[in-house]
Symmetry: C2
Subunit: 423 residues, 2 copies
Amino acid sequence: MAITILKGNIVSAPELGKLDVTEHGYLVAGDGIICGVFAQLPEQYAGAPVEDCGDALIVQSFADLHLHAPQYPMLGTGMDLQLLDWLNTYTFPTEARFADVDYARTIYRQLAAELISGGTTRVCMFSSLHTDATLVLMEELEKAGVTGYVGKVNMDRNAAPGVLEETTEESKAETLRWLEACGQFKYIKPMLTPRFTPSCTDELMAFLGKLSAEKKLPVQSHLSENQKEIAWVRELHPDCTQYWETYAKFGLWDDRTLMAHCVWSDARERKAMKDAGVTVVHCADSNVNVCSGAAPVRVMLDEGLKVALGSDIAGGDHLNMFDVVTSAIRTSKTVHVRDNWETPFLTVPEGWYLGTSAGAAYFGEKPGFAVGNPLHAIVLADDALPQPHPLTPAERLERCVYRRQKDAVRAVWSAGRKVYSAE
Amino acid sequence: MAITILKGNIVSAPELGKLDVTEHGYLVAGDGIICGVFAQLPEQYAGAPVEDCGDALIVQSFADLHLHAPQYPMLGTGMDLQLLDWLNTYTFPTEARFADVDYARTIYRQLAAELISGGTTRVCMFSSLHTDATLVLMEELEKAGVTGYVGKVNMDRNAAPGVLEETTEESKAETLRWLEACGQFKYIKPMLTPRFTPSCTDELMAFLGKLSAEKKLPVQSHLSENQKEIAWVRELHPDCTQYWETYAKFGLWDDRTLMAHCVWSDARERKAMKDAGVTVVHCADSNVNVCSGAAPVRVMLDEGLKVALGSDIAGGDHLNMFDVVTSAIRTSKTVHVRDNWETPFLTVPEGWYLGTSAGAAYFGEKPGFAVGNPLHAIVLADDALPQPHPLTPAERLERCVYRRQKDAVRAVWSAGRKVYSAE
């Protein structure tokens, strides 16, 4: 068995709001699977090579459960526009360029490298509607050491005519062609990805639901992001009382389903998510940028829903998950003020849990550096700022989060493999 | 006359919401004073050396009108605490360390360097109550090339006993000693700085008001940041209807006065600011972090108040003014949503204006790269990200703002002097 031993200040999030800290401890993995965190190295590992991270923090790596890979080139642009103008002026033309696989190769290689160097080792990601570019994306992620799911986007109505569109037949045929080619990947798996209800005909939705059941494929989409969208869905599906039912009625709604945003999900819709085991992907950066609103994350957590985080680039402006965690916290603080300082905001340990353990749970991991989890870890060397007094590991982690210290990432392990080193 | 010529894509903010763009243009200064922006170099400057910035953007540098220098070491820590706990656990002990001038020298040198490398060339800044450390701060800022005002803090009541306190007599005597020593500085000037009303006795406030009038010294303080603070001020000054009157009645309220926050300033208080010509310093990062609320910036602008921006470290978590501008914009977007999408959010050109021209106005500059202004400029090389299509200079600036691209700062001019170069 190949033993990996990391020595340093080990901080993990074993439950919402709690940090486990082992100063100058040992994180041990065998064949890439965590054997334990130890204050002293157990005798059985004596003699195995130790990667000494000195005074650095060793923390769980990030899971980014919602982002649009082909929007990477447009990060941070068009943010003064309304959603529809933003889609037409920036998003659709940008995504359309991924018909060109060479362009896709260049962009996706850079994207994969930025994910890994930022400590994001698990993703659930939207590609564009292009099958070949989607396969390029999966290849580049796999090569860089990212794990998770990618979806070729399906969108056969209300698209961008002449810019970005596919017919129902094309969408079905290309989805099948794409799925056949996915067998080559070990760490990146396919996920069905209807763009959102207004983008997909009933015929296509039914096809995807059937495919999901037959091939046991998970599903990702968008839900209740903004009020105009919700009204539009109501017009399109007068038979459905709520937005989520437009997914449920086609079999796209179970415990492996991811729904991004859920800003306006009321008690009934939240109950439907809880009952089905759907995971909410909270995308605070994006929800602020495109003025959607603030998802009721505290309520969702209190109700026992599964909530993870997503960067949602390029509605979100940063891939950096330190930023995404901070945005979730900061948005919760605006909700705290709005609610007359009554709804508790997300603490740093809570935000950290959402960006790490909660996302990892989607991939079947237990929270924290639990025994049996694949080793996903970041080494953080946060020594650039003066310190008023010796900081505890928890304070250092807090500072990395609020300061969004992507630059502190010195090494990254993904599914047991060392995939990045800053040296 | 010493001529400085910068060639590049010149973008400036001549009025709220507007950007002037001169692609491949020339920004010319004589003896550090701007002579103009030109599409072609006027003949009279032929032969003068040209600093060719290639395809980079040349933009105005930032003005940070509210920050606490001695809180620099605690950036990004304690952010889960309530204001009072945060002050007692982090802020007061951190500030107390500046009794040690050697410690002050180390920290303030780093602070000054970070300001300049981030493109902040004008500041109004709180020091601690320590006279000697305040002089060290002024020295280090001046050496690094920062311009503006610094204040020794006055706080003779409700302080932190045994940690950070001064008597009324000490506060007065030290203020006079400090002012006498300030003559040595050319670019950094003194500013009277009662910490806030609850920290200063009437006797001290009256002393400072008299001093301000006698020596024509400007004043900075805090106003209406949070509701408990406002209630406390009401208890302390039952004779005053509103918080601002506690400054006004002691002569600390005129057109050179800066008031940080003003989150809860109502129409009457805003009118008092407008009538007196007081400048509001909006500190969005800090107001979110310590859950104060969202200042009514759009209303203030519509009413014609002077509004500039401040990082307010360490309630704010970043010195980086790209971050501060983005925070102001993002906070305005949460207000936009809260107000049923009716109150317009700050556009990128508006946010940029507030972080540059509006702050510069406090120092007597006209907006934008106006003729007669001292040359304060940043060169931005924003070439790290892929671009979906050739971006306009305005789009590039937007991306630098939303992406908070401090790393794009390649060179900085302050009051006519080149004070930073990334090479």
